[in-house]
Structures are given as structure tokens and as C-alpha cells.
């Protein structure tokens, strides 16, 4: 089971958090593609990924109990 979190414009479409059961070895990118397949309007988003509060690339493999964050490009300042 992994916990998914969404921020800013993505949070407004997806809700703040949810959990998913994944098959072992699923990558962050594959999980994102599955979300886009479910909600095609997400394809417009540029997205960055973080696992357990560290930036990762799309090829990062998820493990049980990971927390995955999806967010649009940051715009602080």
C-alpha cells in the first residue's frame, strides 16, 4: 500500500490524499500514467514526483508504505 499526495492545482482535481495498492516494482511514472488514464485532463499537467519527501525521477520504483507526492512546477517566492 502506498499513500498518494497531491498539491496545488493537482490537489484541486485529485483531492489531498489517497491510498493505492500496487503490484511490486511499480515505478512512479507508471503510477502517474495510470492516474492520467483515469483522468485524461491530467495530461495537461507538467508534474514532479517526490517519494518520502525527496525528489525522484519517473523511473523510481515504489515500495510498500512509501508516500508519493505529485505536484505541478513549484512557484514559491
Amino acid at each position: 500500500m502506498v499513500r498518494l499526495r497531491f498539491f496545488a492545482a493537482l490537489r484541486e482535481r485529485m483531492g489531498a490524499a489517497r491510498t493505492e495498492t500496487l503490484s511490486p516494482g511499480t515505478t512512479v511514472g507508471a503510477l502517474w500514467r495510470a492516474l492520467v488514464a483515469e483522468r485524461p485532463e491530467l495530461a495537461h499537467f507538467q508534474v514532479r514526483f517526490a517519494v518520502n519527501e525527496e525528489y525522484v525521477s519517473a523511473s523510481h520504483r515504489l515500495r510498500d508504505d512509501d508516500e508519493v507526492a505529485f505536484f505541478p512546477p513549484v512557484s514559491g517566492g
Binding site: 517526490a50 525528489y55 512557484s75
Partner: protein, 152 residues
């Protein structure tokens, strides 16, 4: 002091956080909410943060800055929630033996913060609101909303 959270940013506390008897220079950068942005009349900004990760990223930037320059102390604060026009949304303070390092590190820190720290800005303007940088189509969407607002 490396903090992301609600409430006004105290410039005095920011400066106090980098005070050091070995330092000969303190440089402070404050980012403030601008009244106009891309032709829009801004009413207020609203910031959302992934707070835990944002503070970790600030700490990582402070470590990197210390590797690049000889610094005494580094402090960074970012406000979340609503920030009215004219108020401080972000503060960076750096102290060092001499001014060159403090200026260079301060500039580098605010530039990196804007690129890597997970914080998002939503601009509320006359006639609408928009997440800044959210989608490539964001600009077009703002234009459409402004047009709709003018028609009202």
C-alpha cells in the same frame, strides 16, 4: 532559522537569526507581494506548501550554499496562506566575513528556492484567480477569465 509557515515574517527575527560576531556583512532579501503581475491587478497571493519537504529542501539549500561560499549563518523563511499585497512572502538572510560572499549566496539561495522548494503560489486578481506555473495553458486560461470578467 529555516521555516515554512503561516503568519507575518518578522524581518527583525530574520536578521537576529544570522547575527554573528565573526561576520562583517549581513545581506537580507525580502520578496513582497506585487500589486501588478502580467497586467493583472493583484488583490492577494495565497501560498500552499508541502511543509515537511519544503523545510528539508531549505535545509539542503543552506548546506549547498555553505559548500560554495564561506558563510557565517543562513536563515530562510517562507510564509504560507494568504499574503496581502505589499507584505513579505519570503525572506533570506545571510551573514559572512565580507559582503561579496553574503551577496552572492543570498542571490543564489532565493533563485534556487524558487526552483526547488515545494511551495505554490495562487494569484487572486480582479476577475479571477490562477495557480502560477500550474499548466502550460495557464496563461491562456487567465486571459479567458479576464475576458469573461470584463464582460460582466
Amino acid at each position: 532559522m529555516l521555516r515554512v509557515g503561516r503568519g507575518r515574517i518578522s524581518v527583525e527575527r530574520l536578521v537576529r537569526a544570522v547575527r554573528d560576531p565573526k561576520a562583517g556583512a549581513v545581506v537580507v532579501f525580502l520578496g513582497t507581494t506585487r500589486m501588478r503581475n502580467e497586467g493583472r491587478r493583484v488583490v492577494r497571493l495565497e501560498y500552499e506548501a508541502f511543509a515537511g519537504m519544503a523545510e528539508r529542501e531549505l535545509a539542503a539549500l543552506a548546506v549547498q550554499a555553505r559548500r560554495r561560499w564561506r558563510l557565517s549563518r543562513v536563515a530562510m523563511v517562507h510564509r504560507t496562506g494568504v499574503v496581502p499585497v505589499g507584505q513579505v512572502s519570503v525572506g533570506v538572510a545571510v551573514s559572512s566575513g565580507h559582503r561579496a560572499e553574503a551577496f552572492a549566496a543570498g542571490r543564489w539561495l532565493i533563485d534556487r528556492l524558487k526552483k526547488t522548494v515545494p511551495i505554490w503560489k495562487r494569484e487572486h486578481f480582479r476577475g479571477g484567480r490562477v495557480w502560477i506555473g500550474a499548466t502550460p495553458a495557464g496563461g491562456a486560461r487567465v486571459a479567458a477569465r479576464r475576458k469573461a470578467a470584463r464582460r460582466r
